[in-house]
Subunit: 476 residues, 2 copies
């Protein structure tokens, strides 16, 4: 039952086999759309809980806005519309009638939300307004479907806030980005780098866009979350004014920020191996699977009783546990199956273990086995889960560090992109023409400019003095 | 700040004013669609938690399926398609291209889900398969928007299961219905009646449909949830076969069941009054608001300190608490505002209370005030919340009982519908022509036939011997 494709040999085929075989997704009859199966959806629910917790701590409130956006709304902010128009799906008929104005299916909800904000914001007392929405969004991408990473419908959260000052909006933009970083690094075990997008890569209609980017095992960068300072652009278009304490009228400052189910794709891709899925314990829906092993029917009751005791002890330590007591499957079959499905710890209990009052505990990440006294289970298994969590994060961090290289000429940059990929940091003069030329030459884009930006020698393209140190990579 | 319209005088206007003034919803620029604001969405999240808990206990797993349904899929089950076709919204364009096959936005997901089930069900070991989805659905209703009760987009959960036997599917159908009844009665404080739909009112494509129905204060019935035994109709169309333990091949038996955000409408309508929203404490996002009252600036610190102590004591009892310390608003203004917004308990703390080491506690449902010793707070407030919960349920139950009447002639039935509405139970011969004639005459439909169905005298329409006792009502 191990996967047919090897992660190190044919990464793309391996990933496609993984997500289907581990029952994370299934292809649907609609081109570009997929089904998120329960094993993956449960992780999304964990992410929702964690993110909701962050947002609640900052008084961000969940709400739900219509998924339809009138064409005229989407067109209000010109750059915004230009950015999304090629990917919008349109509803033209309701029942048997043609609609008088065609309706876009939300690719993002700025325009429909901010129209409503106009009815809710009157005074400085109504600010800050902080709303989040968990929903489906539609982007009619014409590129090939890549499960979780590129689908025409996906799930996400989009936070939208309005503030009385630019500074507050700046702070909110960064606060959301730091939430994302914490969730990626400390829960999904995905190390990320942070920074600002270039003008060319920023969100359509934003003042600036900040991003967290992780590096996938094939050396391509994956944008894990973005947070936008929208300035007053949308406020102007939707007339979002408020009365200050001094009775003057001002436009609000806004932010929006989002993360989506593509995070699940990053998670699956990063940690899994040739045996199947590997999950960081903090987001694994099931922590431990127990496989009782009894060759003789007469041993079965004893072994099952021990399995029951172990489960109780682990559940008391707030872990989720499954006992695989199927009689029609061999232990070997079960080991393979639960490895494929990414359960962080497997516990085997056989007669030899019982004789020693112990159980055999096997880590999914390293495959290491150890014997643990039954009386020590509730102490040692949680510690082992933490060790797995740390190990996955450290491994991913080491990989990112090892694939972070400088370049001072376009020849160097091209060579790295062709041979090793990864992140390359290099001087950039700030001219979008150089940015485009580099992209054409190397297929790599500026993923971000670090917040602690400094000019670094000369521009990797034109060799004029650089204004920024930019981080380049090929990307998903 | 009390509502302009009175519940007893102009029910519809009162409801429309209520949901907008209490910040539960807002109208959107898309006809028939609305925004669910945070105060209402938080209740939906509570409902989700409760329902997820029920489903987990029965191994129903959450997942997510595409919202697009190819026309050819929707047409596979003829009755199903006929039932939904007039209300389907169609996507015809993606980006700038016309689609080769137009796509329906899901009005319900049987067809898209069961296509996937076909890939997952092979053996009796794959059964039962139990999946649930929380999502938005679209029904392009041409009737007038009624916030929460009738909108073109709404949120719901739809559970879908496949079983190896008819009996198991029968049991699942009823199990889901009982979950719904428990959530309605014991959390939303909405008493309901249960039964089967008539052939004419059942879900398109189902073998039979079961329902829970509650009675709104205007005497109209509201369908709160339905659960369908689908038989093998969809299994035939989607070729859902499994290999039995005896190696024979059989079609699965299926169920589907759903509840939606219209439950929120029922909740708001049922318990609220002329001052605004009234919420059963078990689903109220905020249980207690504390209003510190200090005329003199010098008293303010003491009163605020007491408010802080009370909050801590209540939070320790797992209640959610807000202290309204706005200095620019009078206590009277605050009382009105929190009554409008439906906080179950208000606690006032002034210098007179402090002198007696007590606080004044006011119930939202009855308006009754009592003085409670500060030292008793953590004991008495939770008990008071339970009393409110019970009182709301009992009141609603009394109302339903008082509006449950028999009729033996169509003249009687018509008279009750014209003068009092409510539920009327009467004999029915089982002929759909009588069902239609009654609907035409009285504007009332058969809401359900109780599970413990008995013939009752003669048919209220044709006076031939009755086959059923049917419950009639006008409905939302």
């Amino acid at each position: 039952m191990p996967l047919k494709h090897k992660k190190s040999e044919n990464f793309t085929e391996w990933y496609l086999e993984l997500v289907e075989a581990a029952e994370l997704m299934d292809y649907s009859p609609i081109q570009g759309c997929m089904t998120i199966r329960p094993r993956a959806y449960a992780i999304w629910e964990k992410y929702q809980d964690l993110m909701n917790h962050k947002m609640r701590s900052d008084a961000v409130q969940n709400a739900y806005f219509p998924m339809f956006i009138p064409q005229s709304f989407l067109e209000k902010e010109a750059k915004h519309f230009a950015g999304f128009a090629p990917e919008v799906a349109w509803v033209t008929h309701g029942g048997n009638e043609e609609l008088s104005e065609k309706l876009a299916l939300r690719p993002t909800s700025e325009t429909i939300m901010y129209h409503q904000f106009g009815k809710w914001i009157h005074s400085h007392r109504d600010l800050p307004l902080k709303v989040n929405q968990w929903c489906n969004v539609i982007r009619w991408d014409t590129k090939t479907l890549k499960p979780f990473l590129r689908t025409r419908e996906f799930l996400w959260q989009e936070g939208h806030t309005a503030h009385s000052t630019e500074k507050e909006a700046d702070e909110m933009t960064l606060r959301a980005l730091h939430w994302y970083r914490d969730l990626c690094e400390n829960y999904l075990a995905l190390p990320v780098l942070m920074g600002k997008k270039s003008e060319g890569e920023k969100f359509p209609g934003a003042l600036y866009t900040t991003t967290i980017e992780s590096l996938m095992p094939d050396g391509k960068a994956l944008q894990c979350g973005t947070s936008h300072q929208l300035g007053q652009n949308f406020a102007k278009m939707f007339d979002l004014k408020f009365k200050t304490a001094q009775e003057t009228e001002e436009l609000v400052w806004q932010t929006s920020w989002g993360t989506s189910t593509r995070l699940l794709g990053a998670l699956f891709m990063m940690h899994s191996d040739d045996k199947g899925l590997v999950l960081p314990p903090r987001v694994a829906p099931l922590h431990v699977v127990i496989v009782p092993i009894a060759k003789e029917q007469s041993d079965r009751d004893m072994v099952m009783a021990a399995a029951g005791r172990v489960r109780l002890a682990l559940e008391a330590a707030a872990l989720t546990v499954h006992i695989d007591n199927r009689s029609e499957r061999s232990p070997g079959y079960k080991f393979n199956e639960w490895e494929l499905k990414g359960i962080p710890i497997r516990i085997e209990i056989g007669m030899r273990d019982m004789a020693e009052q112990s159980v055999t505990v096997c880590r999914r990440d390293t495959g290491e086995k150890e014997s643990i006294l039954e009386s020590q289970i509730a102490l040692k298994v949680p510690a082992l889960l933490e060790a797995i969590q740390q190990n996955l994060f450290e491994k991913a961090k080491d990989f990112m560090k090892a694939n972070l290289r400088p370049a001072s000429t376009i020849a160097e940059l091209t060579k790295i992109m062709d041979e090793q990929k990864g992140f390359v940091f290099a001087g950039w003069c700030g001219d979008p023409r150089c940015e485009e030329a580099i992209a054409e030459e190397t297929n790599a884009s500026i993923r971000f400019i670090p917040f602690e930006d400094k000019p670094a020698g000369s521009c990797v393209m034109c060799q004029k003095p650089s204004k920024h140190t930019a981080f380049f990579a090929r990307s998903y």
